[in-house]
């Protein structure tokens, strides 16, 4: 059981917004990820039951989208862009350095991503989907440290503001 009663109530409100319940699939997967920090197999079963789908259908959709994590990723997801405007401004080096620096840290998950539409701040990155950059490796590590000791408030790993999680 991963969804709380408040989550279930929220889930029903979300489903009611759509003409067809299945449209609520992505929002409910975000909700599950807000709760658990990743989309657990149990959550997929629960979401399937709420929408009258099979677990395989839910997994099939879940596995298509990069923000939905099917393994634990820790509290902070750092997404580093290496697409062209970042590439020519040091994005590749930034990504490699951060991957190295946090390799053993189970709380910080560094991933290479495609353009996050923050190219005017290249090289750009996001921490739990809040924008940062431009930064070199030391500057980025400083930003991450502020999230680690909670001087900066991180969103959930699905990018939801903490006050919006039921």
């Amino acid at each position: 059981m991963s969804l709380t009663d408040a989550d279930r109530q929220r889930a029903q409100q979300i489903i009611a917004r759509y003409p067809y319940a299945k449209s609520a699939l992505l929002p409910l997967l975000h909700l599950a990820q807000d709760r658990d920090g990743w989309v657990t197999p149990g959550a997929m079963e629960e979401v399937a039951a709420l929408l009258g789908l099979t677990t395989a259908q839910v997994l099939g959709v879940c596995s298509f989208y990069t923000m939905l994590k099917r393994e634990p990723v820790g509290r902070l997801v750092v997404s580093v862009c290496t697409n062209v405007s970042c590439l020519v401004n040091g994005g590749g080096e930034l990504c490699e350095a951060l991957k190295g620096q946090y390799a053993g840290d189970s709380d910080v998950f560094v991933e290479e991503v495609e353009c996050i539409a923050h190219c005017d701040h290249a090289p750009a990155f996001q921490v739990n989907y809040d924008f940062h950059g431009p930064a070199d490796a030391a500057g980025a590590a400083d930003v991450i440290a502020q999230y680690q000791d909670r001087r900066l408030v991180a969103r959930t790993v699905s990018g939801t503001a903490v006050e919006d999680v039921p």
Partner: protein, 445 residues
């Protein structure tokens, strides 16, 4: 208009006017209402009625700002008469590499977008609109969510808006990370709770879209422009620009420029040079432009000799065999390796291909592999021709405008970097490939 007509480097803010004026609170209901910025045009729109709004939008020659540049009023008029329910979907997926204007609009002027949604929904006579927001835009979703909440509270959404008898609900739908949800049919699949796989057209969304019902899909910037057109009239809008490139567009300029950012300029009377050298301050470090990508990763590249071309959609397509696409202008200095940029863009397409069509799925990853070795000193003498022969299976003939063997336009987009290499860099690349091969043979011997 000819490419040598005089131009001046200045901005003409229409959709970006308010967010520039109120940098500290432009996204709040209080600020939006203070100077009659948002929602002030609703009464006029309700009085005009759906047909008059649609013809106003048609007369303005407003064209879609998401990439394809289709006439907005014309699209709305394609809805089959008398078929209900029907839906409006606003495309806020903004995944085209180096495009960063739409999330600025939802983060910093969500009420202007909502006003546009209400007017567009009334014009097409739907009572349900979706805004599909790219999953990674956390702040945008939060600000738009708050704006929707405040608009319900103020009576601009919900039942009987301003006593007009018109009802509208707006649903904010967050994506979860995938470029192909930006294609309008991929968006509809995703909104239905499926993988975001595009669908073959026809039927076009206006005939059969989400839930197989008539659906209008429009970009954020397109819809954000609608209130100004209704307020000030079609003639005001189409007096800006020229030909079939009227009004303004926001261009996202990035790469090696001094002042990367979003610039809203008048179409046709502004040139790439005005944008890149004037507004964005030119290339950093006193270097020169090597090449530039004029309209997102999907558009064929242009060269320094094209800098004086006007930002006119038909001119860029017809004369330069490229496109203004999503308005993303990526500038690379003369020291940039075009093979490296081509490889990275092809890696993007390979990663984002949804896998439904064989030429796109297989072609994108093979092209990425070959470009990787070409860019990293491992090229073979005939690699460029090898790429063109793969490409011929995706874009038969390889001539602009691209034909396609695939369901959506991502397939042909893969060929834009390759065709650009062939067009502008063939000889130096062949030389480099021959040198790579010679070096390898020497090492073996």
């Amino acid at each position: 208009m000819s490419p040598d007509a005089p131009t001046t480097p200045h901005e003409t803010p229409v959709v970006t006017e308010f967010l520039r004026e109120r940098p500290d609170d432009s996204w709040t209901m209080a600020a939006a209402r203070e100077h009659g910025h948002a929602y002030a045009t609703l009464a006029k729109a309700f009085q005009m009625g759906p047909e008059q709004i649609t013809s106003q939008v048609s007369d303005s020659v407003l064209r879609g700002k998401g990439g394809a540049g289709f006439g907005t009023g014309q699209k709305w008029s394609f809805l089959p008469k008398g078929v209900f329910p029907r839906y409006l979907c606003v495309n806020a997926d903004e995944g085209e590499p180096c495009t960063f204007k739409d999330h600025m609009l939802i983060e910093r002027d969500p009420h202007q977008l909502l006003e546009g949604i209400i007017i567009a929904a009334f014009a097409i006579q739907t009572d349900l609109a979706f805004v599909y927001v790219r999953g990674e835009f956390a702040l945008g979703a939060q600000r738009l969510g708050q704006a929707i909440h405040d608009a319900y509270a103020a009576g601009f959404l919900g039942k009987n808006i301003l006593g007009s008898g018109f009802d509208l609900d707006v649903v904010l739908h967050r994506g979860a990370g995938c470029y192909i949800a930006g294609d309008e049919t991929g968006l509809l699949s995703s909104l239905e709770g499926e993988r975001a796989m595009p669908r073959i057209k026809p039927p076009f969304p206006a005939a059969q879209g989400v839930y197989a019902a008539p659906t209008i899909v429009n970009n954020v910037e397109t819809i954000s422009t609608v209130p100004s057109i209704v307020e000030r009239g079609a003639d005001w809008y189409n007096a800006m620009g020229a030909n079939r490139s009227t009004g303004t567009r926001i261009f996202s300029v990035s790469g090696h420029v001094e002042r990367p950012g979003n610039y809203e300029v008048e179409l046709a009377h502004t040139s790439f040079r005005d944008l890149i050298e004037g507004l964005a301050g030119g290339v950093r470090g006193g270097r020169k432009v090597g090449f530039f990508v004029p309209g997102g990763a999907s558009s064929p590249w242009l060269m320094p000799e094209h800098l004086d071309a006007p930002l006119d959609m038909d001119y860029v397509q017809g004369e330069l065999k490229s496109m203004l696409g999503s308005g993303a202008v990526m500038v690379f200095d003369e020291t940039t390796d075009p093979l490296l940029v081509a490889w990275r863009l092809s890696k993007f397409f390979a990663h984002e291909s949804c896998g439904k069509c064989t030429p796109c799925r297989e072609g994108s990853s093979w092209i990425e592999k070959v470009l990787y070795r070409m860019a990293h000193g491992q090229g073979r003498a005939d690699d460029l021709d090898l790429l063109l022969s793969f490409g011929n299976n995706i874009v038969p003939g390889l001539n602009a405008p691209f034909a396609q063997t695939t369901i959506c336009a991502l397939g042909p987009s893969i060929m834009s970097p390759v065709v650009s290499l062939e067009r502008w860099f063939r000889e130096p690349i062949l030389e480099r490939l021959r040198a790579d091969e010679a070096r390898r043979e020497e090492a073996v011997a």
